[in-house]
């Protein structure tokens, strides 16, 4: 009959099929094409050889160990910041959280290099303290621990943003009831706040974990010198020595990564499993904990962490941009602004890249937010096997190293599209599509966890008011998940802004991205130019964040993560 729906169903009938088809285009098609190519590459056998290769399992082990440790570290740092900056009354919350989002903008390689130098024989810091190790002593960061530590640092802001959204949903009276029950601040945090913010925390941890699995920059710099290969670096070595079996091997490696990420998702489901996170009644914890004299401990701790995460790498970048050649000490005499002049005024590609990256990042962030709001709705309302499969399929592309995603997209889109007879390959649109595929998971996670926390009565009231699906999405649901939506947009924007590995294979004349330009400059020996451009990118992001700050009054509460 017209207008009727399946009982208990609040989403329009077309919604799930729509999400499924999006996922098919973004994820299933490319992955399946890669798998098929991989299988054909093994036409004469050889799959067994790859699977029994010790290197594969070694790399799997290293990947898992570093990813798990890295996730733990980033959850630790991210939670510390999220909790202190969201729920307590420590001073300077705004500026601190503003700064804490920035490390995501510093390419992981830069942070890694900065740290290597900071802890190495030529470290100005250690030299000044007189504890610099002698030339040639082993570098402690070239180890599993070092990789994990950097993973942790690099991904802590992801956890911070996702968890913050979760914390904002914790009801204030729940915290108060616990305090009155006799639970001191920490106990309340552990028993009430944390469990209620668990969806946010787990979302953050899951993004961090998956990012660790797919990360290439950090293990390339810290792992290879110690012969520690993760799956991502192993994949890269396969491409380095190209044979006709390469696609097969790469497909197998990607399969392992996909399995790990699906397993991660299962763990995540398990951790959230069966519980109810719907906040009943009024949400909005705001400032609920007084830190008192502890602020004299907390604030310095946060500042020190920020120093290592942001200040040190940023100044390493800046120094790299100001010296004429690598290894020349930075003094007033050697300092020059040549590199900035070169990238700003003489390299026309800089402007193209800024335009491209801004376009790509903006469209990806906003487009994915729209998709996530829809997909998140479906996935939290239908909790069946299909929903779980779709969730995994969204997850996998983000877990895969960018080069794999790019290869898969080339395989699908290099030939003209059937029916339409247009070729996406070589245009900016294929990069955009690949970004959509890659970052869908990042965008979706916080939104899903926010949906989980929603009191269903709020949507019901809107339905009864007569609001159809889109109407209540716009008026009720999106504003209610605003903190998560804000986190989602900012996460995706920042990640897409200096994305490298996906666009590295997909760019062509005129569609260079910032990541590609920086990489190419660096790779061609222009490390000063690369540093200068990186500095400019960071500055651009700061400017855009300030712009957002200025806009914040007109945005729903909680959207801008550094405002409380």
């Amino acid at each position: 009959m017209h207008g009727y729906v399946r009982p208990g169903n609040s989403q329009p009938a077309w919604l799930f099929p729509f999400i499924v088809s999006v996922v098919v285009v973004l994820s299933v098609l490319p992955l399946a094409r890669l798998a098929v190519t991989g299988i054909t590459a093994f036409a004469d056998g050889g799959a067994v050889a790859v699977l029994t290769d010790r290197a594969l399992w070694q790399a799997t082990y290293y990947t898992l160990v570093t990813a798990v440790l890295g996730t733990l570290i980033s959850v630790l740092i991210g939670s510390l910041f999220a909790f202190l900056l969201t729920l307590t009354d420590i001073p300077a919350k705004g500026p601190l959280s503003f700064l804490f989002v920035l490390p995501m903008m510093i390419p992981p390689q830069v942070t890694a290099l900065a740290w290597v130098q900071m802890s190495g024989p030529s470290s100005p810091l250690l030299k000044a303290l007189g504890i610099a190790p002698p030339l040639g002593s082993p570098q402690p960061l070239y180890s599993l621990g070092g990789i994990a530590l950097l993973y942790g640092v690099q991904h802590a802001p992801l956890v911070y943003l996702a968890l913050r959204a979760g914390l904002l949903g914790v009801p204030r009276d729940g915290i108060e009831a616990a305090r009155l029950s006799g639970a001191p601040a920490l106990r309340t945090f552990r028993d009430i706040v944390l469990p209620l913010a668990l969806p946010g925390m787990i979302a953050g941890a899951a993004i961090a974990f998956v990012s660790c699995i797919g990360n290439f920059g950090i293990p390339a710099i810290l792992g290879i010198p110690a012969s520690i290969y993760t799956l991502a670096t192993l994949i890269f070595t396969k491409f380095a020595a190209f044979t006709d079996r390469t696609f097969g091997e790469v497909a197998v490696l990607s399969g392992v990564i996909a399995l790990i990420s699906v397993a991660g998702l299962a763990v995540q489901e398990r951790a959230l499993g069966g519980r109810d996170y719907r906040i009943l009644g009024q949400a909005g914890a705001a400032t609920s904990f007084q830190v008192g004299w502890w602020r004299f401990l907390f604030v310095p701790v946060l500042l020190i962490v920020l120093f290592f995460m942001l200040v040190a790498p940023f100044f390493a970048l800046l120094a790299g941009a100001l010296v004429p050649a690598y290894g020349v000490p930075l003094t007033l005499e050697t300092m020059s602004f040549n590199a900035f002049q070169e990238v700003l005024l003489r390299q026309t590609v800089t402007r193209t890249a800024f335009a491209n990256s801004l376009f790509l990042a903006t469209v990806t962030a906003v487009g994915l937010l729209c998709l996530s709001v829809l997909a998140g709705y479906v996935l939290t309302r239908r909790r069946d096997v299909f929903a779980r499969i779709v969730a995994s399929l969204i997850e996998i592309p983000y877990a895969l190293p960018g080069i794999i995603v790019a290869v898969a997209f080339i395989l699908v889109f290099a030939a003209p599209l059937p029916v339409f007879n247009v070729t996406l390959y070589g245009t900016i649109w294929i990069i955009l599509l690949a970004y959509f595929a890659s970052f869908f998971a990042v965008s979706l996670k916080p939104v899903v966890s926010a949906y989980r926390q929603l009191d269903p009565a709020l949507e019901e009231a809107a339905r009864l008011a007569g609001a159809g699906f889109f109407r209540r999405l716009k008026d009720i649901l999106v504003p209610l998940v605003a903190p998560a939506a804000g986190a989602s947009v900012i996460l995706v924007f920042l990640i897409a802004c200096n994305e490298l590995t996906v666009s590295a294979l997909l760019w062509s004349a005129g569609t260079q991205t910032l990541g590609v330009v920086i990489y190419n400059l660096d790779d061609s020996g222009g490390s000063d130019l690369a540093s200068a451009l990186s500095v400019l990118v960071v500055l651009m992001v700061v400017v855009m964040m300030l712009l957002l700050e200025w806009l914040a009054k007109r945005l729903p509460k909680g959207v801008v993560p550094w405002r409380s």
Partner: protein, 341 residues
């Protein structure tokens, strides 16, 4: 506007016991049904099924000829033109009070002016005109409830569902709001279903009272009828503040018993098969004569004392008194009339 029909409706939440079990109920066109019953008996669940938030596990719901829902299909709530006050209010925290109240109008796309006028009127009715720009979080419990009320009454719904809409209001406001309901009901002719624990509210407002227990419907009747002639022990003890005695009634008596019929029965001990007799407090007179009872407790209620009297065999009677007897005193009572359940 049309008749609201619940046809053998059941709802299982998978907890073993059904929340609503085979409930059939007609609310006449433009009727005002009060739904009473102990906490957890399924009242909210019935409202939620009428609104369309829960699909019945079994049975069907109609509005006139139109099927609203059965186990297989359901008209979405946004197309039912109903309004509801949620037990938990369900205010939207991100909107101001005015926006909360005006949202159903906005969705219906009324003109800016009507919009503003209607909001102002609704807020005036609930005495919150000067809180229009606040957020729900900045309101007291009762104020929130009033916002929910205003939002419910701002449009012209076919069916209005009220889930304890006055639980957090003081007596004055309550009376005013009752008056508002009455007016709204007369003006709009909407069918209203009203869940409450306050019986005088229910009696004063409703054209029909339905009593539920453990998911089942026990009785539906107009207020006077259900008060005077309740069916069964449960309804008898739920409606009003009467006490139920188990007495050894001889056959052949009418259901409504007089003092003459009761007096001999009260004197003889209850043995063998017994009948349940409902005695209303207002039908008990404290007088020098009658049977002797001992005062078990007497509680001050302002207007009067509420007494619990113990009969010889330990059964209790409830009644009122303007004066305070001492606990333990023996008082004599006569029972003007009683009702066999």
């Amino acid at each position: 506007m049309a008749k609201l029909i619940l046809n053998h409706v059941s709802k299982q939440f998978g907890t073993g016991r059904p929340a609503v079990a085979g409930l059939s109920l007609d609310v006449r066109e433009g009727g005002f049904l009060a739904l009473l019953g102990p906490s957890g008996c399924g009242k909210t669940t019935v409202l939620r099924m009428i609104a369309g938030f829960e699909a019945p596990s079994d049975g069907a719901i109609f509005l006139g000829e139109r099927l609203l829902a059965n186990a297989a299909q359901s008209l979405p709530p946004e197309r039912r033109n109903m309004a509801m006050v949620f037990q938990s209010y369900a205010l939207w925290p991100h909107m101001s009070v005015a926006d909360n109240v005006g949202y159903p109008l906005k969705v219906r796309g009324v003109s800016r002016e009507t919009y503003r006028n209607r909001i102002r009127e609704a807020l005036d009715t609930v005495r919150l005109a000067d809180h229009a720009e606040r957020r729900p979080a900045e309101l007291s419990g009762g104020q929130r409830q009033r916002v929910a009320l205003a939002r419910c009454l701002v449009t012209e719904p076919d069916v209005v569902l009220l889930d304890e809409p006055l639980a957090n209001l003081d007596r004055h406001l309550r009376q005013e709001m009752e008056e508002t309901f009455r007016e709204f009901h007369q003006r709009s002719g909407a069918t209203m279903v009203y869940v409450t624990h306050d019986q005088s509210e229910a009696m004063a407002l409703a054209t029909d009272v339905a009593v539920m227990s453990q998911g089942k419907l026990l009785q539906v009747a107009p207020p006077e009828e259900i008060y005077a002639r309740p069916e069964g022990r449960l309804v008898g003890s739920l409606i009003g503040r009467g006490s139920v005695l188990s007495l050894n009634l001889p056959g052949g008596l009418p259901r409504k018993l007089t003092w003459e019929e009761l007096r001999p029965v009260l004197a003889s001990p209850a043995l063998g098969s017994t009948a349940d007799i409902l005695v209303r407090p207002e039908d008990i007179a404290l007088s020098g004569e009658g049977i002797a009872t001992r005062v078990r407790s007497s509680l001050y209620e302002g207007e009067r004392y509420s007494l619990i009297l113990e009969l010889e065999d330990g059964q209790i009677l409830r009644t009122f008194s303007r004066h305070r007897p001492q606990v333990g005193d023996v008082v004599h009572v006569t029972i003007h009339s009683a009702w066999r359940l």
